[in-house]
């Protein structure tokens, strides 16, 4: 009678067997499994439904069938646009690779008036200039910077304490801007500074050129000062004053802070977070301690294992979630970057979560003496005497020699997680990165054996922890979704 047909008429799902699209799974807990597709969409299923799906026996119309179909784990006679969408999402996840190197780190000087035991690069007395980058070196480094095809170029000044070599900073900024008149890139500058020696002249310089400030804040005064000794034991006070002055001069959002975790931090996560909240930061990056530089020499790295760090991390994460529930918008940056991979079609540019590895592609480091490193960690490794990731020198090598050297290409080639043993079949591969520098440093191998890898242990625990928290609580889903889209 009706000219309208019933829903069943349009559902051809059951007419033939479904075709699986690439997917992987891992046990989350007990009977619950997490399934991921090739672009990181996930869902959880009980073991029986997982088995049913995996053996081709899941019936059309089953609730799990619809969820899997909607998330492109399968397609059937009803529709095949899933393949177009999956291809598009895969391209979107990989697209940033084509931009190549966007972050260029200039080590303006190794001099520093702090003497932090965890410092990951060597330091020098602050009156010796032989550890300063020269204008000639900077000029050659800028030649390489503008060889990168990236439409966005960020030049970050590191040290030592880069503000101790202000003339070089001035030179690089004005020279880079001059070259950019013709290049037309999206050019930005960052100074990574402890702010202890901050002067009005520095602020005026930063204001004139829209330079961002990134500083260190390890927590409340006692912890910060213990981690970051300097003459006068006033590092914390100087950092706090510096943050306030820089915000006033440059703009509130142009000042960021990073914390370093030490064994002394492990029992203090709430105090650390509270310090960031008190200082009105929008979030915190609960960072693991890296195994390089002084950190390893001073036995800091061995002083706590991954498990202890994970307790610290999740205690902090849960506290931050609680703050959000109480109405404070505050994010944890590492979680947010992982969640971006889990909950959005986009990709993070954080080097540790890139695959193929971010070395060289994500960032290049130009040391004060012109040595070019594949990453910040590569430079730290070199300071320990291992030159594996020293790619060349701005005075001796061309861009092509540096970028196309086997020293860079070999580890990158070995760092496609999707084809690495242990990673290729891991359900969490879409969320993870590759870190050949870490695995070389800890296992003497770019790839590393994953069951022995602290990188793998830590990331797997974070991925599981995030998914478990979303599974348990809708409000957490909404909070996490917001973080994922903020970063």
């Amino acid at each position: 009678m009706s000219r309208f047909r019933e829903p069943e008429y349009y559902d051809a799902s059951a007419e033939a067997l479904y075709t699986m699209l690439p997917w992987r799974f891992a046990r989350l807990r007990d009977d619950t499994y997490v399934l991921t597709n090739m672009v990181g969409e996930y869902l959880t299923l009980p073991r029986s439904e997982l088995e049913s799906f995996a053996t081709g026996a899941l019936p059309a119309g089953h609730p799990a069938y619809n969820e899997l179909k909607s998330r492109h784990f399968l397609f059937d006679d009803d529709t095949n646009v899933a393949i177009d969408l999956l291809a598009l999402k895969t391209r979107t996840k990989l697209a940033p690779l084509a931009n190549f190197t966007g972050l260029h780190i200039f080590v303006a000087t190794l001099r520093c008036e702090h003497s932090c035991p965890y410092c990951q690069v060597s330091r020098a007395n602050d009156d010796r200039t032989e550890f300063d980058m020269s204008e000639a070196t900077a000029r050659m480094a800028l030649d390489l910077v503008f060889k990168s095809p990236s439409p966005a170029i960020k030049i970050e000044f590191q040290g030592g304490e880069p503000l101790l070599n202000l003339p070089l900073l001035r030179f690089v900024v004005s020279e880079a801007k001059k070259r950019n008149d013709a290049e037309g890139r999206d050019l930005a500058f960052v100074i990574a500074t402890n702010l202890a020696m901050l002067t009005e002249e520095h602020l005026e310089f930063a204001r004139e050129h829209d330079i961002l400030i990134s500083t260190s804040l390890d927590g409340p005064a006692d912890l910060h000062n213990r981690n970051r000794p300097r003459p006068g034991q006033d590092s914390h006070q100087r950092a706090i004053d510096g943050i306030k002055r820089a915000r006033a001069a440059l703009g509130f959002h142009r000042v960021g802070a990073l914390m370093t975790t030490t064994s002394a931090s492990l029992t203090r996560v709430k105090d650390i977070i509270d310090e960031y909240v008190r200082m009105d930061f929008g979030g915190i990056f609960l960072r693991p301690l890296s195994p390089y530089g002084f950190a390893i020499k001073t036995k800091f790295y061995q002083s706590y294992d991954q498990r202890r760090w994970l307790e610290f991390y999740f205690e902090g994460l849960d506290y931050i979630i609680e703050l959000n529930r109480r109405g404070l918008d505050f994010i944890e940056h590492y979680a947010a970057m992982v969640l971006k991979k889990m909950l959005t079609p986009l990709q993070t540019s954080y080097v540790d979560l890139m695959t193929p590895a971010g070395i060289g592609i994500g960032a290049l480091v130009y040391n004060y003496d012109g040595t070019v490193y594949a990453s910040d960690e590569s430079r730290m490794l070199a300071e320990m005497g291992d030159q594996t990731f020293a790619l060349g020198n701005v005075h001796k090598n061309s861009y092509e020699e540096i970028i196309l050297s086997d020293k860079l290409l070999d580890p990158i080639e070995q760092s496609f997680a999707a084809s690495s043993p242990g990673c290729a079949w891991c359900a969490f591969e879409p969320y993870c990165g590759s870190d050949p520098v870490f695995h070389h440093a800890t296992q003497g191998d770019f790839l590393g054996k994953k069951p022995l890898s602290a990188f793998c242990t830590r990331n797997m625990a974070v991925f599981r922890g995030l998914i478990e928290r979303m599974e348990a609580d809708e409000e957490v889903c909404a909070i996490f979704e917001r973080w994922a889209n903020l970063i």
């Binding site: 000219r3 309208f4 047909r5 019933e6 829903p7 008429y9 349009y10 559902d11 051809a12 799902s13 969409e41 619809n66 969820e67 179909k69 909607s70 998330r71 009803d78 529709t79 095949n80 646009v81 177009d84 969408l85 598009l88 999402k89 959005t344 079609p345 986009l346 909404a478 979704e481 917001r482 889209n485």
Partner: protein, 390 residues
Amino acid sequence: MIPLRARSVIFNEAAVAAGPRIIRLSTNTERPSPLRSNEAFFARFRDPWPDGFSWYVALAGDSAIEMPPEIPGAALPAEFAYLGDGDVISLEPSAGIVRVLFRKSSSYNHFLLTERCNNSCLMCSQPPRAVQDGWIVDEILEALPLIDRSAAEIGFTGGEPTLLGDRFIELVRATESYLPNTALHILSNGRSFAKDGFAALLAAVRHHDLMIGIPLYSDLPHEHDYVVQADGAFDETIRGILNLKQHHVRVELRVVLQRPTTKRLPDLARFIARNLLFVDHVALMALEITGFAKANLDRLWIDPMEYGRELQSAVGVLSRAGIRTSIYNSQLCVLPKDLHHFARRSISDWKQQYLPVCDQCSARERCAGFFETSGTKISQGIAPIIAEAA
């Protein structure tokens, strides 16, 4: 725009001799004479008849009697009293018909391009008809140059406008040529753009302010196909959206809130945020009970109070993903409070109504109100919002 077709129009003999005409009205007795030969003078209050206009139009029983007999003239019934300066009308003396094509005083005028459609949506407000109506395009092409060039926005609807193929492109191009400051909104099911070449043709017009509004009803293909009553429509619509965005044509997704698809609204939102993050706007639209929606009322109607939670969740997902999101056609009192700022006063003034109970409501001026066709399908949740003491 009101697609009024009035048959009680009286044309004089000169009009019948002159034949059909699409013409712009002027009420200005001081109109510069070079313009008059292409315009109709619309007499409103027993104005004296100025010389030189090619047509004279008046309301019947008014000054129509004194109309000069040698100039084509039409006497319109009183319902046309709203017409004014700059409006464009179509006069058909032999059929005794006047149609209003464009109203200058309205912020939004739309043109129905064809009644043909390749979908047959359960709730279609303009049920499709398989008719040969190519003449409509000619009429619009003739009207476009007459439209006031300060018009903010015009719309193309159907039927399915893209079924016109090359003539559709021709219309968009004419809009860009004659209305370089006017936004163009096109309602389409997007299926024609599954052919990449067609999307490329549209993009090649390089319209300065174009938006294609495309309905998407479910993340599950067969559920969408059921609502639009066309097998395979989902895949074509999705491919069409991808092609349009590939060619940088702006796309708005339009989701009608109706019983068959409200349960999966959060899933649809997640699907959009994950697969179609690049769309320019998502409009979640309460059901308008007209056309097919009346015939299918039993399977379509759901009280908005029953889908508040799903709507809340869907809007949350979309807005957190940074997608511009709006709720159309919904009364504020049936929406969860945190959704109020997504609600728009989307019902055109000539379709918009309020209930007696709305008189006590403090939010009435912000509220979309009801379609005049809402009839008996009024939510159980309708209740005046009483302003809280500050």
